[in-house]
């Protein structure tokens, strides 16, 4: 819930700084490894927007996978898991980069 409130706070502050009166949508980028549960966030978002200028705003959710490189065969691939089997050689890959993003990308306002 605190994450949803933070998202709404960031969006409202940006809107007010730009003299916007109403937020239509808020786009968030969420990495696969950011530790965020989409359903929980969407539920909490619907509560967090009440009584704000984002009251009718939709949450546009952009999922970002992590990038993995297999230490055994060198194959590069994308994954949503912290421990992923290599699609080429099936060895488990634990060394990942990215996928930890959790940011408000932009907002659409009137």
């Amino acid at each position: 819930m605190s994450l949803a409130v933070n998202i709404v706070d960031i969006a409202v502050q940006t809107a007010e700084k730009n003299q916007a009166k109403k937020i239509n949508s808020i786009s968030v980028e969420v990495g696969a490894l950011a530790g965020v549960v989409r359903d929980a966030l969407e539920f909490c978002f619907s509560e967090a927007v009440k009584n704000t200028i984002a009251e009718d705003a939709s949450l546009e959710y952009f999922h970002i996978p992590a990038k993995a490189m297999c230490e055994s065969c060198g194959h590069q691939f994308e994954t949503d898991e912290r421990a992923a089997p290599c699609p080429k050689c099936s060895n488990m890959v634990f060394q990942l980069s990215g996928g930890t993003e959790f940011r408000v990308k932009n907002i659409n306002v009137d």
Binding site: S2, L3, T14, N24, A83
Partner: protein
């Protein structure tokens, strides 16, 4: 984020108390934004909707405050460790023993985090270290704002070691930087040895892993070497201490490491 508890109580529910004190203070959350106003007046002109770029990290507020805490710690030459684990791993006992062993050699201070009660703070107080209890109410983790508020009350000495005993929770505390130098994840032999694979976020976020309750190893199915290898897969840089806080076994290495850091 914990996907069951919601952490939705207002910040007024978070309290800060010292052992033996009947007073407690609250955290007040100031809303920076105004609520929307009704009745704007009928306008004939139609403004186009527009997209405003934001590119701001959601946890930026907490992260900024954590960095401020970090600056405070640096200025006071403090070593700050954030102890994280499932409930019941032995964090408080570990701290009691550490305080008893090292309090003559270095100033130690503790911030205790629990949903309710002064139990842990009272134990730390009895062990002989200054301590502040943060009760989070329904909250499942400490955040940087709570630490800043706790520091205002605790007023730790320069050159001290501050241990923050986080709320028992192997999930959410990994997301909330408090300004610490390192996270110490504690797992006990009475838990599953595959926990590092099941809770990789916390094990990757930590620098130190303490395996506690080694005295119970003969009675449980916990494979210490397996647990360490799982943890190293998720975080190759983890440093381990195998201890029994209650018997004292292995604690010397932990004390030695602490003394080396200061």
């Amino acid at each position: 984020m914990c996907d069951t508890c919601g952490c939705s109580q207002p910040n007024e529910a978070v309290t800060f108390r010292k052992p033996g004190s009947n007073e407690h203070t609250h955290l007040h959350h100031h809303h920076d934004h105004e609520h929307s106003h009704g009745h704007e007046g009928h306008s004939h002109s139609h403004s186009e909707s527009r997209t405003l770029e934001v590119e701001q990290d959601v946890l930026s507020k907490n992260n900024l405050l954590a960095e401020r805490n970090r600056g405070y710690f640096k200025a006071k030459n403090m070593l700050v460790l954030n102890l994280v684990s499932s409930p019941g791993s032995g964090k408080t006992t570990l701290l009691e023993k550490t305080i008893q062993a090292l309090k003559e050699e270095m100033p130690i201070a503790i911030i205790e985090g629990d949903q309710q009660t002064m139990q842990d703070a009272d134990r730390i107080h009895a062990a002989g270290a200054p301590v502040l209890q943060v009760n989070t109410g329904n909250g499942c983790h400490l955040d940087a704002t709570m630490i800043e508020r706790a520091l205002d009350e605790l007023k730790p000495k320069n050159d001290s070691v501050l241990f923050i005993e986080n709320v028992g929770n192997l999930v959410c505390p990994a997301l909330f930087d408090l300004g610490e130098a390192a996270k110490v994840v504690i797992i006990s032999t009475t838990e599953g040895d595959d926990k590092p694979l099941k809770y990789p976020t916390m094990f990757s976020a930590s620098d130190i892993c303490i395996i506690n309750k080694t005295d119970l190893s003969p009675y449980v199915n916990f494979d210490i070497e397996k647990c360490k290898s799982y943890a190293l897969k998720v975080n190759p840089k983890l440093q381990f201490f195998e201890v029994s806080a209650t018997t004292g076994d292995g604690m010397d290495s932990w004390y030695h490491w602490l003394k080396e850091q200061t």
